[in-house]
């Protein structure tokens, strides 16, 4: 057990949490959709724009040097944060969706062909489904899905059966955004590799809450977005093993990603990581993401995870007094997410009434429609917690939910 964090003190670093919504203090429980930003992250972007904005990797002038240094330092922060062997294995992308599309359209096009299979799981969010469906349509491959059990954990028996059929790739989420289930990524990767499949892990919901070590996981690709990890929107990361990235063709063409451009002799490309970073990147976003990851490290990912699971347990306990409530996802190993439906009410209505009480939750399918189909529900109400949420806020949420359900039913 790590040292408990002081959420009340941490909150002071998040200016947005001071505001009111509908005349009530904001209770922000939608961390899994996007986290709020600490002042250090906000200031990092501001500082860059105020004092040293210039294009990176271009000029000899001082500002460009300073911007390039900060931008590349941030890459090193990411490398160390996820335990990558080298910083050139860290590719900046526009986000997690962009990173998955990059892999699908480069590595995917070279390694997945007619008749091949891509293995996914029932709990993937749309960003880890649709790019593979598009690739499968283009090359004549097919998608197979590992189903889940009622508690929201992967059906490991089915995984074995489907791996035995020899898929080219197994792409799965480290942590489910809807269920909170934490997959044993190391074991899943080992099983997939033993079956000869490449492995891509979607770490969007893992990086903000737990320590990630891509070398220990031994995955081929690991992706995550910045904005769910206390960083800005519009920036994300693709990690890939160096040998794989080097063999991959570039995806988007343009400046930054070239070595020599010639009409007569053809164009040659830059080495890693710039080969995959065409055009001017989101410089302030990358720098601020580095600050965000350092901010997480300053508190400790384990302490954050412990705090969030404690809040989730408190919420479940409070909500369980509601008659007809059904929690969706009850894996033993779970992150700080509580997803539920209540008999005789629509998630959308509960979300609307909570909003009127200043409580922000997500309602709907959470971009996991296949998962909603599995449970035969239109969607859920989902409260997801961050380092800055307090027990008092969870109480406000529980009382608000009880009140909402009573209004909707009476």
């Amino acid at each position: 057990m790590s040292k408990a964090l002081d959420a009340a003190a941490l909150r002071l670093q998040f200016p947005i949490l001071n505001r009111e919504v509908n005349g009530k203090p904001l209770v922000y429980l939608d961390h899994a959709a996007s986290s709020q930003k600490p002042i250090a992250v906000i200031e990092a972007q501001r500082e860059y724009l105020m004092h040293y904005h210039a294009n990176v990797h271009r000029g000899v002038h001082a500002l460009s040097q300073q911007a390039t240094d900060a931008f590349e330092n941030a890459r090193t922060v990411v490398q160390q944060h996820i335990g990558a062997a080298e910083s050139c294995e860290v590719i900046w992308t526009a986000g997690a969706t962009d990173a998955i599309n990059l892999v699908a359209q480069t590595w995917g096009r070279d390694h997945i062909g007619q008749g091949d299979t891509i293995l996914l799981t029932r709990m993937e969010h749309h960003a880890n489904i649709v790019p593979w469906q598009m690739l499968a349509d283009e090359v004549g491959a097919s998608i197979e899905v590992v189903e889940i059990q009622d508690d929201g954990t992967l059906d490991t028996k089915e995984l074995q059966q489907k791996l035995a059929k020899g898929p080219k790739l197994f792409a799965f989420t480290h942590v489910s955004n809807t269920l909170g289930t934490v997959n044993d990524a190391r074991s899943l990767t080992a099983q997939a590799k033993a079956a000869g499949a490449a492995v891509l892990i979607d770490g969007c919901q893992a990086v903000p809450h737990m320590n990630v070590d891509v070398q220990a996981l031994d995955c081929d690709f690991y992706i995550f977005s910045g904005h769910k990890a206390y960083g800005p929107t519009g920036i994300g990361v693709l990690y890939g093993k160096r040998a794989l990235l080097e063999a991959m063709r570039p995806w988007r063409g343009g400046g930054e990603m070239i070595d020599v451009v010639s009409f007569e002799n053809g164009t040659t490309y830059a080495g890693l990581p710039h080969k995959f970073e065409a055009g001017t990147p989101h410089i302030s976003g990358a720098i601020a993401l580095g600050v965000a990851l350092n901010w997480i490290n300053g508190i400790g990912a384990e302490a954050i995870m412990d705090h969030e699971t404690m809040l989730a347990a408190h919420a479940r306990k409070g909500l369980s007094s509601i008659e007809g409530i059904r929690f969706i996802g009850s894996a033993a190993s779970a992150a700080g997410v509580v997803s539920f439906v209540v008999d005789g009410t629509h998630p959308y209505d509960i979300g609307t009434l909570l909003d009127s009480q200043g409580v922000a939750v997500r309602t709907g399918h959470h971009c996991t429609q296949p998962l909603m189909e599995r449970y035969d529900i239109p969607g859920t109400v989902r409260a997801s917690f961050g380092a800055y949420n307090t027990l008092q806020e969870v109480d406000t949420f529980v009382v608000g939910t009880v009140r909402s359900v009573r209004m909707l039913r009476d």
């Binding site: 629509h346 209505d349 609307t352 909003d355 009127s356 309602t363 709907g364 239109p378 209004m407 909707l408």
Partner: protein, 142 residues
């Protein structure tokens, strides 16, 4: 006939003036939703679904003996159904031309447009659009 449309909107605006906050307004909207006659399951066809709503909303319309339009609406979410009930109350029994040309100022007056989440506001807009489309269609039919 548009007098009737004006009168109904005034009534609703007045009704909503009494509420102090949005919880009370929603309480009222929920009541309206519960009072609105449900549509029989057999009539809840996909072709009657309104696009652009996070919850499902069905809207049916028919001309009565006097040539006026009678609406029926339902939703699987009760607040949405309450909003549908408000729309039906304002538009029901009007001639097609009045529906097609209706200026629904009460939505802004009671603060719905400002308060609703963008998805819900879109849903409400789609509902209004669909009612007007019925108005236009029945006009053309004559």
């Amino acid at each position: 006939m548009s007098d009737l449309l004006q009168q109904r909107q005034h009534d609703i605006a007045e009704e909503f003036e009494f509420f102090e906050d949005w919880m009370e307004r929603y309480e009222h909207i929920i009541e309206l939703g519960k009072e609105l006659d449900p549509i029989a399951d057999g009539d809840k066809l996909d072709e009657h679904l309104i696009r652009g709503c996070q919850s499902r909303v069905w809207l049916l319309a028919a001309k009565d003996g006097d040539g006026n339009v009678q609406f029926r609406a339902d939703s699987d979410a009760i607040i949405t159904k309450g909003l549908a009930a408000l729309m039906v109350r304002v538009m029901n029994g009007l001639p097609p031309v009045a529906i097609a040309q209706a200026d629904l100022w009460f939505i802004e007056k009671i603060g719905l447009d400002a308060h609703l989440s963008p998805t819900r506001a879109n849903g409400l807009r789609s509902m209004v659009q669909q009612m007007k489309h019925y108005g236009i269609a029945f006009q053309v039919q004559g």
